[in-house]
């Protein structure tokens, strides 16, 4: 069911590509699926300023080299359910575990590169927490990507990834639930670069 929902959401997002063929706007949109036992929820992310910044750096930086986005990334979860995502947010509001949060036990990233006029670029980040690793209410999730902020100003990048995008209950992106500690928690975050 959740796969169908995600597929439908991405199909909806991409529907303009085949019909319009080309567009005046390139758009980045993220969709995340959270799985924990019987709980399977899907929602759209919200980009914060740092996310816009790191994407912008690939267009605007004139001084030399930058780190590509997947070079250093992570995903963290939190329990906040009341704070909508704001542009200036740089961390989860109430991370589960010591800030920035409890790191997943395993993670992977894969991608599909633009190959035809009807296939957008899709980047998939998957993070998994083993059963019993995290507990409490899951109300927010953060995708942390390499930040070229320091590179823009000083020629070097920050050593740790920063919050680029957030999925939160307070934004209406998904419904909070209590983590089933007997089951693994897996979050699949897809970033699409599309004509829209």
């Amino acid at each position: 069911m959740y796969n169908n929902k995600m597929t439908n959401m991405i199909t909806e997002i991409n529907s303009g590509i085949a019909s319009k063929n080309i567009s005046d706007t390139l758009s980045l949109i993220g969709v995340a699926v959270i799985e924990n036992g019987n709980n399977k929820v899907t929602g759209r992310n919200h980009w914060v300023g740092q996310g816009l910044e790191t994407i912008g750096s690939y267009l605007s930086y004139t001084g030399g080299s930058l780190y590509p986005a997947p070079y250093n990334w992570n995903m963290y979860i939190g329990s906040d359910m009341t704070t909508p995502t704001t542009v200036s947010m740089t961390s989860l509001v109430s991370p589960i575990g010591t800030a920035p949060g409890t790191a997943p036990n395993s993670k992977s990233v894969s991608g599909a590169y633009y190959s035809t006029s009807t296939i957008p670029i899709v980047l998939t980040f998957i993070a998994t927490w083993n059963a019993g690793t995290v507990s409490g209410v899951l109300g927010e999730v953060g995708l942390y990507l390499i930040m070229n902020i320091a590179g823009l100003t000083g020629g070097s990048v920050t050593s740790s990834p920063g919050l680029a995008s957030r999925l939160s209950v307070a934004d209406g992106s998904f419904t909070a639930f209590t983590i089933n500690t007997a089951a693994t928690l897996t979050i699949t975050w897809k970033i699409n670069l599309i004509y829209a």
Binding site: L26, S57, Y113
Partner: protein, 196 residues
């Protein structure tokens, strides 16, 4: 698609990359929205799909050091007034001068990346051809950016910038006109990363 006012809005689920072009030639002024071609997606896509050593989709190697699109850029103009922009286009249809076209006599780039919660990333490319340098009908213009697709394929970047976006009369973006050779021709191409 309605743009948010960033000052008023919370973070958005979309980051949009848009281009607006202003053409000035004597008393003639034209303004239009650009159309991104596939190579325009590629540069951003490369930043998303490279982990510093190899493409995460297994498509080849990529540089640990990544250059911004503005590292090498240019603007060219052409005569074509009947060919709409397609995703696979990699050059102007009918460039003014030897391909890729007659280079401007002067060009400048300025950019502001995310400095505050209320300012999007804005990149401004300005190209000027002196009076008498180019002539004929102006029906298309191309923004050429540093394209890392060479890096995607074989570990080295393309030596010359490639067509990333096109402004064309055939797309209805502006009305073609005959260049006034007694006046300078200036094209200002503004690319903005916005929440949409």
């Amino acid at each position: 698609m309605e743009e948010y006012n960033i000052e008023e809005a919370y973070a958005s689920d979309f980051i949009g990359i848009r281009g607006t072009v202003k053409i000035e030639n004597g008393e003639h002024v034209a303004i239009g929205k650009n159309h991104w071609v596939a190579q325009g997606l590629e540069e951003i896509g490369a930043a998303l799909l490279c982990n510093g050593y190899s493409l995460i989709n297994g498509g080849g190697t990529c540089s640990f050091n990544f250059y911004g699109a503005v590292y090498s850029w240019n603007i060219y103009i052409g005569f074509d007034t009947s060919t709409p922009t397609t995703v696979g286009r990699t050059s102007l249809v009918s460039p003014n001068g030897n391909p890729p076209g007659t280079a401007p006599n002067s060009k400048t780039y300025s950019g502001s990346y995310y400095p505050s919660s209320t300012t999007p990333v804005t990149l401004t490319y300005v190209a000027t051809w002196n009076a008498g340098t180019v002539s004929g009908t102006l029906g298309e213009a191309g923004l050429y950016l540093y394209i890392s697709n060479g890096g995607l394929a074989n570990g080295s970047a393309a030596s010359n910038p490639g067509l990333a976006s096109r402004l064309s009369a055939a797309d209805g973006s502006f009305t073609a006109f005959t260049i006034n050779t007694s006046a300078a021709l200036t094209i200002t191409w503004t690319v903005s990363l916005v929440y949409v």
